[in-house]
Symmetry: C2
Subunit: 218 residues, 2 copies
Amino acid sequence: MADEVVLLDFWASVYGMRTRIALEEKKVKYDYREQDLVNKSALLLEMNPVHKKIPVLVHNGKPVCESLIQIEYIDETWPGENPLLPSDPYERAQAKFWADFIDKKMSVTAKRVWATKSEEQEASKELIEILKTLESELGEKHYFGGKTFGFVDIALIGFYSWFGVYEKYGNVSIESECSKLIAWAKRCLQRDSVTKTLPELEKLIALISERRKSLGLE
Amino acid sequence: MADEVVLLDFWASVYGMRTRIALEEKKVKYDYREQDLVNKSALLLEMNPVHKKIPVLVHNGKPVCESLIQIEYIDETWPGENPLLPSDPYERAQAKFWADFIDKKMSVTAKRVWATKSEEQEASKELIEILKTLESELGEKHYFGGKTFGFVDIALIGFYSWFGVYEKYGNVSIESECSKLIAWAKRCLQRDSVTKTLPELEKLIALISERRKSLGLE
């Protein structure tokens, strides 16, 4: 049986970007289905009844939820090309630790950056702290896992497409504060899987400008 | 070289309990070091500089942080006895999804149950909803993974030792609301790894009573 792979996703989601990049790295063909997050589809509610969130990877009719779990699933299901997680148990644990750190820290803080008034700079400072912690973990390595693009890179790179949003509304220059991280992001952008996936900043800013209006911030 | 395994932990931690149970299941000998969470030890700060939290598993001098990552690491490092995660990628993804659900939902809500005034019952209702979702996933199975005790059971069973705390301060009967989950917990308690690990309710209540006093709730 040929694999039937469907991705329920939303173009601006940093989580969805992870799964799209992982599928591209593995050269898995899939059917992308953009979701309306205001009026959720019957399919989304059926496939992720617990959280009702995208992305959902549907493989031969069976759903896998949560983007980091999806990357691992993709790596285990299509193990041949471009391994995404290290094979050594200790290195795997470290990769999972940093991806978990990104999940625990980035989204909440990043949302506070663009969803609050620009005079409130606390969130921007915290965001820079988080990015500096990640930069310190990266060190002099080419990618987070060393020489090859992998799990932690995939977990983080989607946020890079949002950096311009954080800079605009958070009144901060990530480029000047975290130049090594920017250099890492540019290395990631040499990969087709990443350039294909990351959205344009203008589109994101248009989206966020609308959200801010609906929050009474513009 | 013989394995040197050290666990930095705190007796009442549901996260630490996970790692202790996983080590017991694998019959790994380890050096347990109780931590003072108010005055954190130099060793804890050195081994988990990012989050500064227990549990930390230190294997041959190298730290592994985050309890779910520790269980996976233990399963991969000592694969022989009692596999903790399923070998099938889809089942693995499902197990990780439910453990992640427990992490995202249980602690925050459970703390609201005991750390607020007893007249505020909203948290107790939410806790029952979460437990009913888990009960529904358990269904008629013996354990969450089917016939054998594993990852999701380990992720959840520590909370069972706290049920009496939630019942006392949340003014709720988990036993009458979630009888199948209680039956599952009693099955888990037939395992040495679990009985050895779960603390006595009286000790937990004494601890929480002190915390509530310091929060001005008693």
